[in-house]
Structures are given as C-alpha cells and as structure tokens.
Point group: C2
Chain length 326, copies 2
C-alpha cells in the first residue's frame, strides 16, 4: 500500500511537495489542505480541502507535510497537527529550534505520532553534513557558505524601501574565501570576507536612486556588514532574468590527523539548486517516508535529521541498498 | 566512563585508529592485538597483546576495531570477533558485501553483539552520500570519481612487472568530465573519460624501459581501459616526492524536479585527504562510538552506515547537536 501524504499550505513549498510525490512511486497525495477557499486553489491535480476538515481525515493520511512559514505558521501548526498525524516540517528559525522541538515532542509523544522537524537543506542536509564531518574530524573547523542564490528575506527588506517597486537579492560566496577554506588552511573569515550581496532593484519613475542605493547598502543586519552591489533595472528585466528561485551553498570542514596533526583533510558538501522550494520539498518527501516507517515501528515523539537512520529515506530495502549503493 | 577500544591489526590503518582515539576524549585505547610477536610492535604508546589473548579481555573492551585486509583477514576475523565483541570493520570488497553481511549478522546476533561493517569513505561516507542524494532526487544520475590519490592495488600490480623495483600509481579524475557532471547535463561517461592514471616507476639499472611502459599501459583490468602516463624516476625521487598516501574523490548526483523536470539540481560530496588510512581510521572510530551506544540500547546484529542514526556518531548530546549544528 502506498504512503498517503497530506500537504498543509499551498505556496511554493506545498506545490513542490505535490510535484515531488509524483517522483516517488510508493507514495500518493491524499489531499492539499488550505486556510483559503478550497475552490480558489489551482493545484497540479491534487484534491483540495479546507484546513478544518483535516481532523476528520486522520485515518486516510499517513503523514502530513507542513508547508507553512517558520515565523508564525509552524510554531502553532506543527504541535497542533502532531496531535493528529505523523508530521514533517521545514522549521528554519535556528535560534528557536530547541523551543519548537520541545513543543512538538510533547504533542507527538502524547498522541503516539512521529514528527520530524527542520527538514530541508539548511537546516537539514547541511546540518547532517556538519555532523558527519565533525564526528570524523574532531580537530577541525567548520565553514558554511550560502549561494549563489536568492534570499527572500533580503529581497523583502529592499522592497520595503520607499520608491522601490520590486527587488531581487542574491547572496554570493566570495571565491577567494572558498578557495582558502578548501586549501585546509583554516582561515578566520569575517562576514564581509565570506559573502557579497548583489541587488536588482526596480524603482518608481523619478525616484531618487542614490538615496535608495544608500539605504540598501547601509541597512543594519541585512547589508551593512557586506560588500553590496545595487543594479537598477526595469520591471521587464526583473521578470525576464530574475524570476527563478535558485540557491545552494557549501559546507566545508577541514581537519587534521596524525601524530602531530601533520595530515590535513578537507570534506566538502555542496548544493547547486535551480529551485530552492522544489528541492526543499523533495527533502521533505523523503523524510515523510522515514516518519511513516518509524511510526510503523511504534516510535513516537519529535526527531530531526540527526536521529533518522539514512536507510529509512529510501524506498529500497536494506539488502538492495547494500548491494547497489554501499 | 570512557569507551574502551581494542585494535586488531597494526598496519597503517591500526596505527591510524590509535592516533584517532587520542582526538576523542570519551574514548580510551585498551590495547592493540596482533598475530606477530607483541614485543616486536612499536606503537605510539598503546599496550600490545597477542591476538590469542583477546578472548580473555572480553570484559575490558567495549568495541574491537578490526584493521585487517578485506581479501583474507576480515572475512574470517569479523564473524569470529563479533562472537566476542562489538566490532567495526572497513570491509571494502564491494561484490562480497552481501555475503560478509550475512556471516557477520548471524555471528553478532547469536552473541548479542553489534557489528558495523564496511565503514570508511568508500564504502562509507561516499555510500551514505549516494543514499541521501538518491532519496532526495529520485530522478537523476549518480557519479563517483576517485582521486587524486594513490591506488595501492595498481601500485602493487606495477611492482610485479619484471625490472621494476618500486612504483606509485595515482588515479586522477578528468577535470572536463567533472565539469560536465557538475553542469547537471547527466553525461554518459566511459571509464577512459572519467579517470586517468599516472605512474611513477623505479626500474632496475639497465632494464628495458620501453617494455616496462608497454606492459603497464596494456595491462588488462588495471590500465588498458585508461589513458596512462608512465614516468621513470629514481628511488630517491620516489621516496622524497611520493611517500604519502593521499586520496579522495567526488560523489555527485544531478537530478531534476518540476512539472516537467524543468529544474536541475546538483548535489556534490567530496574528500581531499592527505592520509587515506588515517582518515579511514577516523571514520572507524566515530562508528565505534555508534556501535557502543547501539549495544547499550540492547541492539545486536550487523549494521552498515545506512542503519546508523547520525547523532550516535557524535560525543555531543541530541540537545547540543540541535543547538549547535542543526
């Protein structure tokens, strides 16, 4: 029998989950759940239900994939839905993970459900790469670079500036910093040395471009600590050249072994993604499989990628995996 | 209490395990076991025992790390020692893994011990990278490149040629093939297109160098399918410039998502290692920690890297890992 998946929330991520399920023959999409009027949603084919009807479908959904935002949706929804379903979310507010974990754990344990939180690539695949690398090379340094990719938060910050119609911000790793890290020299790098920021901005006609540029590059937290380049372009150019949502990055650990640390080793994990939400969705779907299997084993409570035996992510049996991939 | 580790076999790998244990404050080395005369071994400080005394030390060793070779040692030793100890090995004869798994599993289950086999980087970290990437991107292609690094087997094959005093063979990925794979174009690559082989050979005085070179480049299985370069050098040059045992490689998966596969994604994992045996030893030691913890949980039987929740590899608690690495 297929694993029956529900999707809660139908933005870019929820749509990505709908598409990812099609690539996994052991899964089927039971339905999309939304706070909006179900008839207003245009899915790629999935049936749509109002969020209020989810609780009546407890027995026809094996795992609910929660596709809301980390700021306000998931802190409420993940504990709430973990009382009814096995759930997977992509909660990514790093500082609040311990608190989110605790809330989800108590809800899931009480209900006998499995919840896997903070699934995606960072947190997610990047995190587990850091874990493996750190366990193998205890004496070393970790580096994470993001990009080249679109930062939604930084793009939004630019859009709030007076006179800005639309904007797209790319985070870009500094190539010389990447090379220094890859050399195994364990450099100390400042924020400015690791990433640059490039902004494509559509301004209102007659707006003061110099003021807008100054407001961007001097914006605290977002841009002031970086070398930032601003390009003013037309709305047509923005839509033509910057409508994708690419992202990616690099997790690198360099460490030393030997009698006196004479041998250097570099472990690098990198992603180059055409579509950040579709890739994140694909990770969520693989972990939905693991949540289902853990639930079948009788487990319950909150887990993260650190707790999941990798074999549970694959549709293949242990025997097949050992034969083909080991 | 520290995890008490035993080492069976004291070649490059065993010595690497001895050094790796020093980097892990939650571990201590209980002893090195050898088939040789214990007084003939010069360790970096570890006590040495004859292999026959291992069985009498069952209660003072938590995990035995088996550092023998895959050809003849491990097929016998891993099942044998899994009857007495939790064990970890680096068995790397891919074709025989299913058979080795079965033999070790039945021995470990009967004794209530945990055995983790085929631990290292390939099989090992490369394998688990293939698993994560394949689970996340079901529609895609896998590529593994090895090098730049020393292949012991190929170096040995050259040494068996008449007139050769010593030799060192490097396996080198072809840069243009790597770039094609990274582009996401999913190229079909032949053996010759993926790797080149470079050989440094010390010949006997007066040996027929043209004949030696011809025997190398035309050697079936080892060199005939590759573009191979042969350099004749002096023994001094070999010892000065080629005494290290570096290795590494790349595991890359490219895949597609979207309504019609319109988005491409590339996942890359790579290693650049100054010392192949010391790095492999460091992986073994991290998995020894996991074997010990699984044993404390009451588990038994044979496992591979696919079965191990990553958190078990780290000395840090789940709470610390979530706070620092997630």
């Amino acid at each position: 029998m297929n694993i029956r998946i529900g999707i809660l929330g139908y933005g870019n991520l929820g749509r990505g989950v709908e598409l990812a399920i099609r690539q996994n023959p052991d899964m089927e999409l039971a339905g999309v759940f939304t706070r909006r009027d179900p008839s207003s949603l245009k899915t790629a084919g999935a049936p749509v239900y109002h969020i209020d009807s989810a609780s009546s479908m407890k027995d026809s959904i094996d795992v609910m994939v929660l596709c809301g935002g980390s700021a306000t949706d998931l802190p409420v929804q993940t504990p709430e839905f973990a009382r009814l379903f096995n759930v997977v979310d992509s909660f990514d507010t790093h500082a609040n993970i311990p608190q989110h974990f605790a809330a989800v754990d108590s809800a899931a344990k009480a209900a006998g459900k499995v919840a896997i939180i903070s699934v995606g690539w960072d947190p997610g695949l990047f995190s587990v790469s850091r874990l493996y690398a750190g366990a193998v090379l205890p004496q070393g340094s970790d580096y994470t670079f993001w990009g080249k990719g679109v930062s939604q938060g930084h793009s939004d910050a630019i859009r709030r500036i007076e006179g800005v119609l639309d904007a797209r911000q790319y985070t870009i790793p500094v190539p010389s910093a990447l090379e220094a890290v890859r050399s195994g020299s364990s450099p100390e790098l400042t924020t400015r040395q690791k990433h640059t920021r490039e902004c494509f901005v559509v301004a209102e006609e007659g707006a003061d471009l110099a003021r807008i540029e100054h407001e961007i590059v001097s914006m605290p937290n977002y841009f002031a600590d970086y070398d930032t380049t601003v390009h003013f372009i037309s709305m047509e150019e923005l839509q033509r050249d910057h409508s994708g949502i690419p992202h990616g990055g690099f997790v690198i650990r360099s460490g030393r072994t030997g009698l006196e640390g004479e041998h250097s080793h570099v472990i690098e994990y990198s992603l180059k993604l055409d579509s950040n939400p579709e890739f994140t969705a694909s990770v969520l779907v693989a972990f939905a499989r693991a949540a289902y299997r853990l639930s079948l084993e009788g487990q319950s409570g909150c887990k993260t990628i650190f707790d999941i035996p990798p074999a549970l992510l694959s549709p293949e049996s242990g025997e097949e995996l050992r034969r083909k991939l080991l």
